[in-house]
């Protein structure tokens, strides 16, 4: 028996050694592996065109060009297109590091449900990958040269991939969240719209995040003869989807308003005008709610903002403004007025396209289940809006 046991152990060790030294045992050759960090999906006629950005060490080096790491292939499905990338280049495409997925506006208008379904069902793609809509062609985002990073998707990540609770004007959605909202009772989902801003840098507004260094590199890009124009990106608006189809878009102020209401947002920035003076404000909106009164058919949005004046054009002494008592009531009123009017315009927009972005149907299902059957088909346009916004100086 002991002899047999030793033989078995010896045999197993031998098998193990053979397996180990044969070295071709369903393993991955890293050097032939395309580590895809972002993909852009466009619709070309009836085919999908997938542009993949690959993290290869040379490309992460500043000396090399972003174009070195881009591969494109077409297919009748997304999976086929991705496989064709491997077929055309000889590399094994690996999606486990893919953290960003961009879809073109054209595809969004057609249908993104099956694209999201593919990523949701695939075990090889993390459901935490961010999904965003390109303002135009999705591949343009990956092909763009940006001073923010030698790899465009890494630059885009810097804009989009932030701590959700600290987001000011960027609406982040990942694959799971999009699918979750899309298949909810509301059947409404959103994703950020990425817009390319060419060449120069602007003060404030959309490009406020650009650092002076980045701005310099940006202008430097224009000087180069054959060099492509360097661009920066904006992601301050969100695109709305109903049943997986693009139905509308919120402006940047509406997007901010939506985020404040869905919060918590501990740090957001906005500007208001009081008379001829402009004020740039920092908001902390940790008290918020979206309620629905089913019987009265009312949607009640509540928001309490704590405000600090960060900058002003009136030449006022900021030291005083930062003190609790010294934030001018007129500034606070102007902020409440402007936020309320943004909320109204946003709600009206949602009503016009019947996009249940606040997931009212889900709220009815969860908290007033007995009434759900009665109200499940009631369009958003038949709800009235009730606002309870307030603003006060920060503590």
């Amino acid at each position: 028996m002991k002899f047999l046991k030793n033989k078995v152990v010896l045999f197993l060790l031998l098998v193990l050694a053979v397996l180990y030294f044969s070295s071709d045992f369903a393993l991955i050759d890293i050097e032939k592996t395309a580590i895809i960090v972002a993909i852009a999906i466009d619709k070309e006629n009836d085919d999908f065109s997938v542009t993949a950005q690959i993290a290869v060490p040379q490309s992460t080096d500043n000396a090399s060009s972003n174009d070195d790491a881009i591969m494109t292939a077409e297919g009748t499905t997304v999976l086929e297109a991705i496989n064709n990338i491997g077929k055309d280049t000889g590399w094994h495409p690996k999606l486990s590091f893919c953290s960003m997925i961009f879809i073109s506006r054209e595809l969004a208008q057609e249908d993104v449900e099956h694209v999201v379904d593919f990523f949701m069902s695939s075990e090889k793609v993390q459901n935490s990958a961010i999904i965003a809509m390109a303002d135009d062609k999705a591949s343009d985002l990956l092909l763009a040269d940006t001073p923010l990073d030698s790899i465009s998707s890494f630059a885009l990540q810097k804009i989009v991939l932030k701590n959700e609770w600290m987001v000011s004007t960027v609406g982040v959605t990942n694959i799971k969240k999009f699918a979750f909202m899309n298949y909810s009772k509301a059947k409404t989902a959103y994703m950020p719209v990425i817009r390319i801003i060419k060449g120069k840098t602007k003060g404030g507004g959309n490009s406020s995040g650009l650092s002076p260094t980045a701005a310099q590199s940006g202008s430097g890009g224009e000087e180069g003869g054959n060099k492509k124009e360097e661009v920066i990106f904006s992601a301050s608006e969100i695109a709305l989807f109903k049943n997986g189809k693009f139905v509308g878009q919120l402006t940047d102020r509406e997007t901010l308003c939506y985020y404040l209401l869905e919060g918590p947002v501990f740090e957001a920035y906005t500007s208001v005008d009081v008379g001829e003076d402009g004020y740039f404000l920092r908001l902390d909106a940790s008290s918020f709610s979206v309620d629905v009164d089913v019987k009265k058919s009312t949607v009640k949005l509540s928001l309490d903002m704590k405000v600090v004046v960060a900058d002003s054009t009136s030449g006022a002494d900021l030291k005083n403004f930062n003190k609790k008592a010294d934030v001018d009531k007129a500034v606070l009123d102007a902020l409440v007025d402007s936020t309320e009017s943004t909320a109204r315009s946003m709600f009206a927009k949602l009503q016009s396209i019947d996009a249940d972005l606040f997931m009212i149907k889900d709220k009815i299902y969860k908290y007033h289940n007995s009434l759900y059957e009665r109200f499940k088909d009631k369009p958003l346009s038949r709800y009235t809006l009730e606002l309870n916004f307030s603003a006060r100086p920060a503590d």
């Binding site: 369903a26 991955i28 690996k94 935490s128 799971k176 699918a179 969860k366």
Partner: protein, 368 residues
């Protein structure tokens, strides 16, 4: 034979509790949540709890029926009351039950390992190394299983704590509302489906007589059984909190639930630590029914040597995995339609047989 077998296989009440905390719950963490969610939706927690309650009830009944014969093994008891042949038949049924009980979890773990742990679909042999382990475990007694549980319980708890701590932040527990849906039919259907992973109480009969009864042992075992299942309930709640309406397609969410955490986004797949810790406990959990099947078959074949029963049991499962291992979802449907009924039947047989002995013993006491 019996006395030496019992001596060799002495297990402690604490270790039985740890088995119910560390091993039996972890096989319910893979496809079960999504599989129940497919029919029960937000009622999945209720479905699972109903299944658990039935199983806990079964366990309590088994423990109470056995209390008269604290130091006798099930085999000795049956042998004394029914004679050799009926006892062997019952043990053969138990052998088949334990084998059947292990089929789906093994298939499901095979698919889980191949699809979530490996970048490319690995060769078949990758999973087959499990059978070397399960055969080795089958050769050992309950004592070794108990001692392994002494260590594995901490790994399971750390793994679960890590998985939960990384994923609770992304979960919206309001997705579980309404907790009690108006239509209970899908909930009951879900509870029935959970039976494929249930009937853990049927491990208990084979452990009877292998431990020294101590104070409140029935309560301790029952509470740990409930505790283990409550941990699973917590994972299921978090799972549905994260995935909500898309939960039904998320078969191996255990390996994905944590990816939405900021920590994972920032430092990489740190969550794999919990995946590996739980997988460690899972390989014991899916090998456990094979060990029990081997012990039952030992009784049927009346052999002291575990080698032949272990090779038969593990060989059968190896062949089943080789031939049917890739058709997991078809097999699951079969398991649900046939398996759960069969498991209920085995439970009924076991309870009936034990009840009969209990009544016999009581009559004997009265006669005395």
């Amino acid at each position: 034979m019996n006395s030496s077998f019992e001596e060799k296989n002495l297990i402690k009440v604490r270790q039985i509790c740890f088995i119910y905390l560390a091993f039996t719950p972890v096989i319910k963490l893979l496809t079960m949540p999504s599989y129940i969610a497919e029919v029960s939706f937000e009622g999945l927690l209720l479905s699972f709890l109903i299944g658990c309650a039935v199983d806990a009830l079964l366990l309590i009944i088994i423990l109470n029926l056995s209390s008269g014969q604290r130091n006798a093994t099930l085999y000795n008891d049956f042998n004394k009351n029914y004679g050799s042949i009926p006892t062997k038949i019952i043990f053969l049924i138990l052998t088949v039950y334990y084998i059947a009980r292990s089929v789906y979890p093994i298939f499901e773990h095979k698919l889980y390992v191949e699809t979530t742990l490996y970048e490319m679909m690995p060769e078949r042999i990758t999973f087959y190394v499990f059978f070397i382990f399960s055969t080795f475990l089958s050769l050992k007694g309950l004592k070794i299983l108990g001692r392994s549980a002494d260590i594995a319980v901490w790994l399971t708890l750390v793994g679960l704590a890590l998985a939960l701590s990384l994923s609770v932040g992304s979960a919206d527990y309001s997705n579980l509302l309404p907790l009690i849906p108006r239509d209970l039919a899908p909930v009951l259907k879900g509870a029935f489906r959970s039976g494929v992973w249930g009937f853990d109480s049927l491990y208990m009969p084979l452990m009877l007589g292998h431990f020294r009864a101590e104070k409140a042992y029935k309560t301790k075992i029952t509470l740990s059984f409930i505790g283990g299942n409550l941990l699973v309930a917590l994972v299921i709640a978090t799972f549905y909190g994260i995935y909500g309406a898309v939960a039904s397609g998320q078969n191996f969410a255990l390996a994905d639930m944590s990816v939405f955490s900021v920590i994972v986004t920032n430092i990489g797949r740190f969550d794999f630590v919990s995946v590996f810790l739980l997988l460690f406990a899972q390989i014991f959990a899916i090998a456990m029914p094979l060990q029990f099947a081997t012990k039952s078959l030992e009784r049927v074949l009346q052999t002291k040597n575990s080698t032949i029963p272990a090779v038969i049991v593990n060989g059968l499962l190896l062949l089943a995995t080789a031939f049917f291992g890739r058709q997991t979802y078809n097999t699951l449907s079969l398991s649900v339609s046939v398996g759960v009924y069969a498991f209920i039947a085995v439970s009924a047989i076991m309870l009936g047989a034990m009840l009969f002995i209990k009544r016999n013993n009581r009559n004997e006491v009265f006669e005395k």
